[in-house]
Amino acid sequence: MPIQVLMPALSPTMEKGNLAKWLKKEGETIKSGDVIAEIETDKATMEVEATDEGTLGKILIAEGTADVAVNTPIATILVDGESAADLAKAPAAPAPPKAAEVAAPAEAKAEAPQPKSDAKAPAAPAAVAPPDPEIPAGTEMVTQTIREALRDAMAEEMRRDGDVFVMGEEVAEYQGAYKVTQGLLQEFGARRVIDTPITEHGFAGVGVGAAMAGLKPIVEFMTWNFAMQAIDQIINSAAKTLYMSGGQMGCSIVFRGPNGAAARVAAQHSQDYTAWYSQVPGLKVVAPYSAADYKGLLKAAIRDPNPVIFLENEVLYGHTGEVPKLPDFIVPIGKARVARAGKDVTIVSWSMGMSYALKAAEELAKEGIEAEVIDLRTIRPMDTETIIASVKKTGRAVTVEEGWQQSGVGAEVAARIMEQAFDYLDAPVARVSGKDVPMPYAANLEKLALPSVAEVVEAAKAVSYR
C-alpha cells in the first residue's frame, strides 16, 4: 500500500506550518534520508527528510501552501512494485493511533495522543512517621561530643557493611577538617576512607555514580557552602534518577557536612541550605540537634536506600550530649521529637535553632508561659502530624531557624499549620529567622544577623498576646 507522508511537527510546540518548497518531483526516486521538502515554522525553515524508500507518487499539498496542520498528508510514496494506479489505495486519513486510554476512556477524543489536561492528579501519599526506638530501662548513657557521635555512627556502619565508604576533602590523612572522621583511616584503610582533591562537583558525581553501581558512599563536604559546586549532581543525578528510571536505578548515598553559620566566617561560608534541599522530591533532609539524634539519624541515613542530605552544624560539633550505649541505635528519619512539653505555645525548630528555642522556653517558663518545643530533626519528609497535634493543644506557634525567611522552612511549617489547624489558631504563626542579609563579618553585625533567644521570647509572647 502506498505510504503517506504527513506534515511533520518540527518542534515541541508546532501545530501548523507553511509548505515552502518541494525538492522532489512526482515520479522521482526517493531514498531514506533524502530531503524532499522545506517547511517554514514560526522559528525557522526546516528540511523534511524521507523515512521511506520508493517513488514520489503524488504531491497532495502544493508548495506555497500556508498553515498546513501537523499530520495532514502532504504526499504519497509508492514502494517496490507499486504504480500510480495504486495511489487510490492510500488510506484517507492515517491519523496516528491513540494511546490505549485506561484512566478515563470517555475523554479519548483527541486524534493524537495528547495529555489529558483536565485529568485530576491523584492525592499525594501521606508520610507516615515511624516511632522512635525503645531505649530499654537501665541502658547506659555515654556522654560524648556530637563530633564523636558522628564518627561512631560512620564507624559502626562501615563495620556492618563493606559497601559503605567515606570520601571527601581531608577526611583521611588529615583526620577530617573538623575531625569528624578521626580514626576512620586507621581502622578502615585508604580503600574506604578516601581523600579527594578539592573538586566538589567532580567527587559528588563520582559518589553518585558509585551509588548507582550499588555502593553506599558517605560524601563529606567540608561545608555545605562548597556543595553549591555540586548541587547539580545532588539534585539532577542523585534525587531524580530513581524516578526517571521508573524505579530501576536508585542511589543510596549520604551527603554530609556542616551547614549554616559557624562564627566570623562571613557571607560565603555561613549559608543555611536547609530550605533549598528540602524542596526537592527524591531527597531526604535531616538536620539534628542532640548528640543522640546525630548518631541515630546518621546511621539511619547510611542505611537508607535513598539520597540523604545530612546537615550538621559546626558550632554544635563540640557540644556534648548523652548517647545510649546500644549495639545498634537507630533514630528513624521522618519523626520529630517533642524536646520539651508545654501547653501555651508551640515552638518549632531544628538543628542550631533548637538552642535558641530551648533557652527561650526556659525564659518563658519564668514568666509563666509553658512552651512546647518540637525538634523537627528531619525536614523532608516533615512530621507534620507532631506539629499539628501540638498546635491543636496550644493554639499558638513560633518557628525558629537560622536561615533566611523568604521561602524558608518556617514558611513551610506556617503554611501547613494554616492548612491543617487554622481553626485552632488563636494568633498568626510567627517566624524568627536569620535576617535578610548576606552574613556580615563584624562581630556585632553577625550577632544581629542571626536569631536570638530574645527574639524567640518576644515572638512567643506576641502570639500569646502577652
Binding site: 567532580g202 558525581g205 555502593l215 524516578y243 526517571m244 528510571s245 527524591g282 535513598n306
Partner: protein, 339 residues
C-alpha cells in the same frame, strides 16, 4: 596490574595511516545489522516525532552509528555504558529492546522508565546501561563513579563513558579526569566529536581541538579514531579495554564522527551547509562502508536484504507497540520517588 606502557599510551594524536584490522564476515554482518537497527530506529523516531507521538526533545544518532556499535564489539558482559542525551543508539547497542526504548520515547508504560524518563533518561540495570543523562557533562563524573565502584570491588569491568565535543568543555570533565588518573580507574572516555555542539562548531568553542589531548595534563593517554569506520572503532576499543583491564587507569578515545540530523528535532541546522552533510554521507557513511565491503567480499544481495527486512520488522513492531501501549497509570505519578 602494571602492564608496560604500550603503544596506545604514546600515540596521542592522529591515527597512523593505513586500514584498520579487518573484521570477520560474521562481525561485519553483525555490525551492519546493529548499525542498521539504530539508523532505522532513529528514522522512525523522527517520523513519530513529526506525527506528534513523541514530545519534547529528541536527539537522533543518525551518522554516528559506528561509534557505539564498534565500541560494543570490544566490551564483555558486565562492562558499563553511560552517555548523555543522544542515547538511543547506545541503548540499542547495549542490547536493550527497541520496543521498550520506543515506548519510552512516546511516554508509555511499557517504556524502560515506565514513561517517566523520556528520550534523554533511560536506564537498564540488566544491560549495564546507566543512562541517558540530560545535563551536559554530568555523565562524565557518574561514569567515573562507575569505574570507581569496579575498582572498589576489585572486578575487571570497565566503564565506557561517552560524551560529546561540547561536553568536553565542561569543568567536571577535568575534575573527573584528575581523579580517574589519580586513582587509576578503569574508564574509557569516548569523546564523540561530531563537530558541532548544538549549533557551535568545534573551532568556535574549543581552544584545543584535538580532543585526544584533553587528558594530557593529567597524563591520560588518548588517540583519535575514525569514528565512521566500525573496524577502526573496534580496534581502538579493543586496545583501550585492554589498557583499562590491565590496571593502567583511564584512556581517551576521540571518535571523529558526524551527525546527519540537527542537534534536536527542531534544529534547522543552518550553521553548516547541505553540501557538507551530503559529502560525509556520500563519502563516509558507516553503514555503506560495511555494506560495500560485504558486497565486495561476495555477500549476496539476498543476505543483506534479509538483514534490512529483519531490522525493519523490529522497528515497525517497536513503533506499533509504542503507539498502542497505554500511558502510565495516574497512580504512577507518586511512585519511584523513594524506595
Amino acid at each position: 596490574m602494571a602492564a608496560p606502557k604500550k603503544s596506545v599510551a604514546k600515540e596521542s594524536g592522529q591515527e597512523k595511516a593505513g586500514s584498520p584490522p579487518e573484521l570477520t564476515k560474521e562481525q561485519e554482518l553483525k555490525a551492519l545489522r546493529d548499525m542498521l537497527l539504530i539508523r532505522r530506529f532513529e528514522e522512525k523516531a523522527g517520523q513519530l516525532y513529526g506525527m506528534g507521538a513523541i514530545g519534547g526533545f529528541c536527539h537522533l544518532y543518525i551518522g554516528q552509528e559506528a561509534v557505539v556499535v564498534g565500541m560494543q564489539m570490544a566490551l564483555k558482559l558486565g562492562d558499563e555504558v553511560i552517555t548523555g542525551y543522544r542515547d538511543h543508539g547506545h541503548m540499542l547497542a547495549c542490547g536493550m529492546e527497541a520496543k521498550g526504548v520506543m515506548a519510552e520515547l512516546t511516554g508509555r508504560r511499557g517504556g524502560y522508565s515506565k514513561g517517566k524518563g523520556g528520550s534523554m533518561h533511560m536506564f537498564s540495570k540488566e544491560k549495564h546501561f546507566y543512562g541517558g543523562h540530560g545535563i551536559v557533562g554530568a555523565q562524565v563524573s557518574l561514569g567515573t563513579g562507575l569505574a570507581f565502584a569496579n575498582r572498589y570491588r576489585g572486578n575487571d569491568a570497565v566503564s565506557v563513558t561517552y560524551f560529546g565535543d561540547g561536553a568536553a568543555n565542561q569543568g567536571q570533565v577535568y575534575e573527573s579526569f584528575n581523579m580517574a588518573e589519580l586513582w587509576k580507574l578503569p574508564v574509557i572516555y569516548v569523546i564523540e566529536n561530531n563537530r558541532y555542539a548544538m549549533g557551535t562548531s568545534v573551532s568556535r568553542a574549543s581552544a584545543q581541538q584535538d580532543f585526544s589531548k584533553r587528558g594530557a595534563s593529567f597524563n591520560i593517554p588518548g588517540r583519535q579514531v575514525d569514528g565512521m569506520d566500525v573496524r577502526a572503532v573496534k580496534a581502538a576499543g579493543d586496545e583501550a579495554v585492554a589498557w583499562c583491564r590491565g590496571g593502567n587507569g583511564p584512556i581517551i578515545l576521540e571518535m571523529q564522527t558526524y551527525r546527519y540530523r540537527g542537534h534536536s528535532m527542531s534544529d534547522p541546522a543552518k550553521y553548516r551547509t547541505r553540501e557538507e552533510v551530503e559529502k560525509v554521507r556520500h563519502d563516509q557513511d558507516p553503514i555503506e562502508q560495511v555494506r560495500n565491503r560485504l558486497m565486495g567480499a561476495g555477500a549476496s544481495e539476498q543476505d543483506l536484504k534479509a538483514i534490512d527486512a529483519e531490522v525493519r520488522e523490529i522497528v515497525n513492531a517497536a513503533a506499533d507497540f509504542a503507539q498502542h501501549d497505554p500511558e502510565p497509570d495516574p497512580s504512577e505519578l507518586y511512585t519511584d520517588i523513594y524506595r
